[in-house]
Symmetry: C4
Subunit: 199 residues, 4 copies
């Protein structure tokens, strides 16, 4: 299960680059065109960070798993469906972000996809805990970080989807902020900072 | 063999997203266009579920394998040929499903591909059993589920290919149903339901 | 080294499907178009079989490897260069096979690519043997099959490249035959056939 | 972490082939067209060698890693961002290298990407050493080669970016030279040459 899941995460995160199409030279100045296409690059960055954060949570869960049962394997497959489909809303976001009318649909579909990834990661984790499929105690920073971050991030996604209906671009920036919040190990950094002066 | 096979399954299932092309804005209202393209999304979903089900069967087989002989490695490569080519009939399905005349060919080629995946998984399993390449006993739920599900699903695929010649869209829905039948662990769920009230 | 190599082989073999473009319906009858595009399907099949055969040889070599030194890692990377670039000549083959003038170049470039894969696999194997990087004895069928098949296949490729300059299509069929020769475990089948009646 | 990273490296290096588009026959003589497109092939080769060299450094680092902490996992993800985005500047390089005005931007963006990969590999290595995440001593050739090659290559990239502003094509050739410098194990070859005559 781990090799297959890692493969899907790695491929989905790398396929994102295929939508970074180089503008053809005849269209005008390359420098200006590259700047004009900022929605594509923003969408790339947000999706990379989001899949990266989802992979981090997922790899911590699989690390703590003692064994996988039939239901967990299927829940995992459902999670991978939403991870591997993310390049599609990412492409829509890059194309529609500056088109009035279309950008609302694109940002909402994108947000629902991120919510599904986050929600299913949470379901996977709680199922593993409730069915006692995990090993040992959860003393590690990463494991505690999962439990303490998964639930709030679900709420963040729900709120941001609502914001996206009013100000689409603001939602994209917030999706990036949520991914960074999931990625940055505040707890560990704080502890290392406390430890440093004591040396 | 396992790493390479898992890789091919993971890549084939993730490449499917490349055919979910975002409609260009100038073509009309984005919302309506997304709805118009339902055959593409249906084809994506059916193929994801079918490859997912094939991967589940395959990973259960490799889990039970004690060793692989020369013939098994080649049978496995033949199975991977049909897994990795599936994105092509999927693309045809998404494009032709609403075109009279073309949709019959697309649905039939698609069904033959699924039949080949299912048939070769069955051959792989029976070869491994008959050549005593598997380890221990087959007491586990998943292993019994394979044996009890592989043969009927072959028959389902054959019948559905025939139905597809008459009502192409119905066949696509049935292919999705077969994949769900292969994916849902009825046996395990039933046992857990029986166990729950006893607590 | 093994995980990375297996990854490159798995991706190269699966990316081949991206060049199987479904003909657009407006071009004419789908059935006839699918038949018209036989060079694309032939090229797909030959490349799948060739990468499959190269992976089989490569995985047998890595299985026998005891350790890898710096030079072996670089030779392996050079082999992976030619494996991962094969989808490009495959695409050319599918497009040019029926164009007079262009098909000679396409078939020759394709043959040189296959020759490079075969030659570098041979170099990798002989380097590993001469530097004593392999473990134990070479008593296994697969290992003996490598030694006995690698050198003749190099000669086959060289001869077929020459044939391709005269009759391009014949060369493509021969490349498929060489891949099958590399894939089919004659030795093992013969022994099993001898063993069967004795039971 | 290793399986996911190896996956991203393997996919990024193999996706490069998708930009080697076969010229359509109607455009003119195929042979001449293939020669005309040399910037695409040069860009492919430089990127393959650069990702290959980055993978070699990365796999040596992970080999020496005893364990990974939270910060290291995030640094690694940042490195993978620049590895997986490289196919985009590669595409730009292949398209713009002969266009006056555009080629300067393409070569500079490409160089900055290579500098980021090299710099983050260096940061990853020094972080692992300073936080004592590596195991044992660094007696091995590969480990010493990393330490002795990472810092100079950073300087080489910085200088070549400056050269690229004046003579873009020269910079591309120099990027290839840097990748070869990172790939060729001079130290090991020299020792083997010294050892040979003594036999």
């Amino acid at each position: 299960m781990e090799a297959f899941s890692d493969g899907v995460f790695a491929i989905a995160i790398t396929l994102l680059v295929l939508d970074l199409v180089a503008p053809s030279v005849t269209e005008g100045g390359v420098g200006r065109l590259l700047i004009d296409r900022w929605p594509t690059y923003l969408a790339y960055l947000v999706s990379f960070a989001s899949i990266g954060a989802a992979w981090l949570s997922h790899s911590t869960i699989t690390e703590y798993l003692d064994r996988a049962d039939s239901v967990l394997l299927r829940l995992n497959l459902l999670l991978l469906l939403f991870v591997s489909v993310l390049p599609f809303p990412t492409r829509m976001l890059g194309e529609y972000l500056r088109e009035t009318g279309a950008e609302r649909i694109a940002v909402t579909v994108y947000g629902l996809n991120l919510l599904a990834i986050s929600g299913l990661t949470s379901v996977l984790w709680h199922y593993a805990v409730s069915e006692r499929l995990i090993k040992g105690d959860l003393a590690d920073d990463d494991a505690r970080a999962i439990t303490s971050k998964l639930n709030p991030s679900l709420a963040f996604y729900a709120v941001t989807i609502a914001i996206g209906l009013l100000v689409p671009v603001a939602a994209v920036v917030l999706y990036f902020a949520i991914a960074l919040y999931l990625l940055i190990p505040f707890r560990v950094i704080a502890r290392q900072l406390r430890r440093r002066p004591a040396r």
